[in-house]
Every structure is written in C-alpha cells, then in structure tokens.
C-alpha cells in the first residue's frame, strides 16, 4: 500500500498547478487575486512538506499576505478611483489591437518547449547531489547562531542580505517618486466589534512579530518574517485609517527606511576596521551583532513594506493635481 502522505502530496501538487492556471485564465480580476492568494497559501504548505518552514513563513507573510493586500489595493484603484468607470477601466485592459491567434500559438509552443527543456533538465539532474549542507554544518559553530538558515542569511552570505535590504530601499524610493499626495479617503466605519478586536489583536501581532525575530537565532523565523508580521500591523492601521501619513512624518519614515541598511553596513565597516574581512564577526560578539542587525533590519522591513502598501509620498499637492485612493 502506498503511503497516504504521497496521495496528499499529489493532490496538493495538482491543486497548485490548477490554481496557477485558473488564476491566469479566470476573467474576473477579483477572482484572479483571490485564486492567487490561495495559490500562495498552498505553495507555502508544499514548502512545509519539503521541510522548509522558513521559506513557508516568508512566502505566507510576504509573498501572499503583503502582496495580496497590494494587489487588492491596486485593483480597487483601477476600478473606482480612476475616474473612468467603463468596462475597459474596470478590467484594467490596455487598449491594444487584439493579438493574432498565430502569435499566441507560437508563444505557447515556445513556452511549452522551454518548459519541456526544464523538465528534462530537472529529471536528468543528479538527485540529492552534494550540496552546501556539509560546509554549513561544519561552519555553524563559528556563526554565533544555532539555526542554519539564519546563519547563512546573516553570516555566511551577508552580502546578499545587505543587497536585499538595499533593493527594498530602492523600491520605496521608486514608489515615492511615482506617486505623491495625501490620501483623502474617509475613515471606514468599522464598528465596535472591530474596535474591540483591534485593541486585543494589534498588540498580540506585535508580540508575535518580535517573537519570530527573536526565535530566528535557533528556529525558523528571523528578520524578514518578523518584519512582515509587524508590517501587517502597519497595513491594518493604514487600512482602517487609525494612522494617516502626514507630510511631517516623512523624516521619521526616511530614517526607518535606511536604518537597516545603515546598521548592516556600519557593523560590516566596524568589523573590517578591526583588521578582519567585512562580516567576519568576532566569535564572542557574533550573536549580539547578528541580533542587533536583525533588529534594525526588522524595523526597516516593517516600515518599508507598510510604505510600499501605502504607495505614495505624503506631500501636500497643489489643487487640481491630486488623486485619492
């Protein structure tokens, strides 16, 4: 008898492929986003089955939660806030000439060939070949933390992680250039049930985010997951308009955006000035330094993701030049 877990895996895999195809082919854009959110949830489940809980956490919190909220916001803008409520605006379709069937077929054939090539490459690859795990396992005692993924992210491959924080910074700079203005949407009436829930849940979510950051040293979790959970609190505050960004708050926001990058680079420079290679933390202080960097990066990520969701630089604009979502 086959292991029932294999059947579970097969069902999950089929569902993931079907949801990917369905989310691209369904006509209604709102259904597309809902299907995509569920696709993200199921992918996170698949990654759990592949014993990658860190990746599942990141995908669930950032790839699905924050991205889903971003997509919903953009769809809302496309449908209601653009001024044209016609069918074209509602579907956000670029006004272009219909694509000839031949072009679509050629595209599909070429994509099929590429996918087939990938399948051949995947099946032909040596299964479970030697990876980096022996190297990582050997170096773990020098990393200052007990969880291998955190060790790789913040010690062995810190340059990658530093650049990743810079990418987030670049994204928020770009978004602030693209859209400006104060959002003037009225505060939604959420009712007393929500008020009670928010009073209880928002502090609890902050605790969960901090816990994820803290536990990252020895178990799945860390700066990115913790930051995303904290960003969720920001999202809720922005959505219910409990907090409305003001032009005067830009300084603090800018400080928070660069905090992670600055702390990361500063530690690297300090370590380098002590006659070591940058990011070769002294063993006695490795854990302290990593937790310090992670803490700063978490604050940065939380504020940056919330700002990316808000999607505009809060500046007072001249009359007739504003748009509100």
């Amino acid at each position: 008898m086959t292991d029932p877990l294999v059947i579970f895996d097969l069902l999950l895999a089929l569902a993931i492929v079907a949801l990917a195809a369905a989310s691209l082919s369904v006509r209604d854009l709102f259904s597309m986003i809902v299907l995509f959110i569920i696709f993200g949830l199921l992918s996170a489940l698949a990654w759990v089955r592949l014993s990658a809980p860190d990746v599942a956490l990141a995908e669930a919190a950032i790839g699905t939660g924050v991205t889903g909220a971003l997509l919903l916001k953009t769809l809302h803008h496309l449908r209601f806030a653009s001024g044209t409520l016609g069918q074209k605006a509602a579907y956000g379709v670029t006004p272009v000439a219909p694509v000839p069937m031949a072009v679509i077929m050629t595209n599909a054939v070429f994509c099929g060939l590429i996918t087939l090539g990938l399948v051949v490459a995947f099946l032909g690859a040596p299964a479970a070949g030697p990876g980096f795990d022996p190297l990582v396992a050997e170096a773990m005692p020098q990393s200052g933390v007990e969880h291998p993924v955190t060790g790789v992210l913040l010690n062995f491959r810190s340059y990658d992680t530093l650049m990743e924080v810079v990418v987030l910074l670049a994204a928020v700079v770009a978004v602030w250039q693209i859209e400006r203005g104060l959002s003037e949407a009225p505060a939604p009436a959420m009712g007393e049930v929500w008020q009670g829930f928010a009073r209880l849940a928002l502090p609890a979510i902050v605790v969960v985010g901090t816990y994820l950051l803290w536990v990252g040293a020895e178990a799945p979790g860390g700066a990115f997951q913790g930051g995303a959970v904290l960003a969720a609190v920001g999202l809720l505050l922005l959505l219910t308009r409990a907090y409305v960004p003001q032009p005067a708050h830009r300084g603090i926001a800018r400080g928070a955006f660069v905090l992670g990058t600055a702390a990361f680079a500063l530690v690297a420079l300090l370590v380098a000035s002590g006659g070591r290679v940058a990011f070769e933390y002294p063993l006695d202080h490795a854990k302290t330094l990593i937790l310090l960097i992670e803490g700063m990066v978490t604050i940065s990520i939380a504020v940056t993701l919330a700002a990316l969701f808000h999607g505009r630089e809060p500046v007072a604009l001249a009359k007739g030049d504003r748009n509100d979502t």
Binding site: M32, E59, L71, A81, V152
Partner: protein, 96 residues
C-alpha cells in the same frame, strides 16, 4: 514517488504557466501576476534542490536564496503596481 519529484515537476509546471501568462496576458495586473507565478515556480525548484530524505536536515543555502528572492519579488511587484496605478490615473485624465 518522493516529495522532491512531485513538487519539482509542480515547480516546472507553475513556471511554464507563468511564462505563457506573461507573454499572452492582455491586462497589466495579470502580467505582473504571471511573473510572480514564474518566481514561485523557480522557488519550488530551489527548495526541491535543498530537500533531503528525512530525517536528514535540508540544505540551508537554497532556503536563504529563496527567502531573498521572495523579498526582492515583493519590492519589484510593489514598484510595478505603483506604475500601473499611475498609468491608469494618467490615462483617465487624458480621456476626460
């Protein structure tokens, strides 16, 4: 049938679907979504490459790479969506 085979093929299929979608989608939101599907498919392959038969622990390096990829992807998506919103606003003012 081990999980790595099943989910590896899933990853390839998701990547292929995303590729077709990115090339043939008509509206902008769907195209961004198709590219996101591609990135998730690539993530699948990396996570599968890291998988070891339990009780052996998986390889942490690809996991770190995928986490980096997810964060980079959300930044790219946010910029793309901001561009889409801006374009839509500009087109709406043009038509008025």
């Amino acid at each position: 049938m081990t999980p790595d085979l099943i989910y590896g093929l899933t990853g390839v299929a998701v990547f292929g679907i995303g590729l077709v979608g990115a090339l043939s989608a008509q509206d902008r939101l769907r195209r961004v979504l198709a590219l996101k599907l591609c990135s998730v498919g690539a993530g699948f392959l990396l996570v599968v490459g890291a998988w070891r038969e339990p009780p052996a622990a998986p390889d942490p390096v690809p996991h770190a790479l995928v986490i980096t990829g997810i964060v980079v992807m959300v930044s790219a998506t946010a910029v793309a969506l901001a561009l889409i919103r801006r374009l839509q606003t500009l087109e709406a003012t043009d038509e008025r």
